[in-house]
Symmetry: C2
Subunit: 206 residues, 2 copies
């Protein structure tokens, strides 16, 4: 596309450098900003810059935070005997939105991946061990993606924390609610038959 | 959605205030910025702010521009005896991308719309008359949307410029290239039969 203005071209390029935004969408967004008050663009730019420069990571669980300790770790009503281990802070948002979990989290910042050369030393594992060594933790919930990397990470973590004698669980895998058997892949369907539950559990939602 | 960080919440709200961007997409964009260098966010914010604060409008044709006169009006190789009248600067981009037009433009900044209370006095019509009164213009091409407002505007303009004795044309309406007759609406199909062209014109692409 050939713009009559260098300023517009740069703004379009800025937007289209973001994932999932092409040149046409970028132009539409730039035109929107042009047609809105100048204050809108000022506020927009300012809030992004402020977010990126002032964001902190919780020193306890590595979640994104406005303070040194995130509001989940500092919340006295959360059960800090249970730690849910996740790959990144986005997973925390997803789990929090379910309102089904009231423990704390630990963000690994990745998964062990021999193919991509990511070893355990690149993940936030020492801080997890530190938290366990304080003696309060009773259960580690592994809420990692059901992939080879996820399973490798679960296996590695389960081995190195085995000496502390804490319970290790993984989130349940099976058929999605509202899903249709016809479209479920073989492995999931096979495992969900092996891991069948008593009907009473189903009724109580456990 | 419940964010653990006010900074992230504000950045997500900033993105989702743009048209066509929902909360989930906004979060994805924020996470992208968080995972990229801090310089990326700085450059992004800076180019938008610079665009919005420094953009000018051509004093001749009202196109967006980095200077007081846009690079189409100041281009000596453009034919300034022909003016293509458009609704907004976005239409200029579309027409320029066709590489079929070598004249100049005039941006009305809207269309006459009795329903929305937009009268001729709110459009850039006086500056168009000024340009015509200089005596060089030979043709006005009306490249306005084929809507009631577009037609009203064409009719109004054709009346007020009739005394200058210049040629007034409208862009051709008909079947799209690659379109299928089956899906064309009745009015367009009917008119394209009435306005049929000699086959030689079709071959020469005129």
């Amino acid at each position: 596309m050939d713009f009559s203005s260098k300023l517009i071209e740069e703004a379009v390029n800025a937007f289209s450098s973001l994932p999932g935004i092409g040149k046409k969408t970028a132009l539409r967004l730039v035109i929107h900003l042009l047609q809105s008050d100048i204050q809108k663009t000022e506020k927009f730019s300012h809030s992004l810059l402020k977010m990126r420069t002032e964001i902190k990571f919780c020193t306890n669980c590595h979640n994104v935070s406005d303070e040194n300790i995130c509001n989940i770790c500092s919340n006295q009503r959360r059960d800090n005997t249970t730690i849910c281990v996740v790959e990144n802070f986005r997973d925390i948002l997803s789990i929090e939105n379910t309102h089904h979990y009231h423990g704390t989290y630990h963000v690994l910042d990745g998964l062990i991946s021999p193919i991509e050369g990511i070893g355990p030393d690149k993940l936030n594992i020492p801080s997890l061990i530190n938290r366990i060594e304080k003696g309060e933790v009773k259960e580690l919930i592994m809420a990692l993606n059901p992939t080879i990397d996820g399973d490798t990470t679960i296996f590695y973590l389960s081995k190195i924390v085995s000496k502390y004698g804490i319970k290790i669980t993984t989130i349940a895998r099976g058929i999605s609610f509202g899903g249709e058997l016809e479209y479920v892949d073989d492995i999931t369907l096979g495992r969900s038959i092996s891991a069948r539950l008593p009907f009473e559990n189903y009724l109580s939602g456990q």
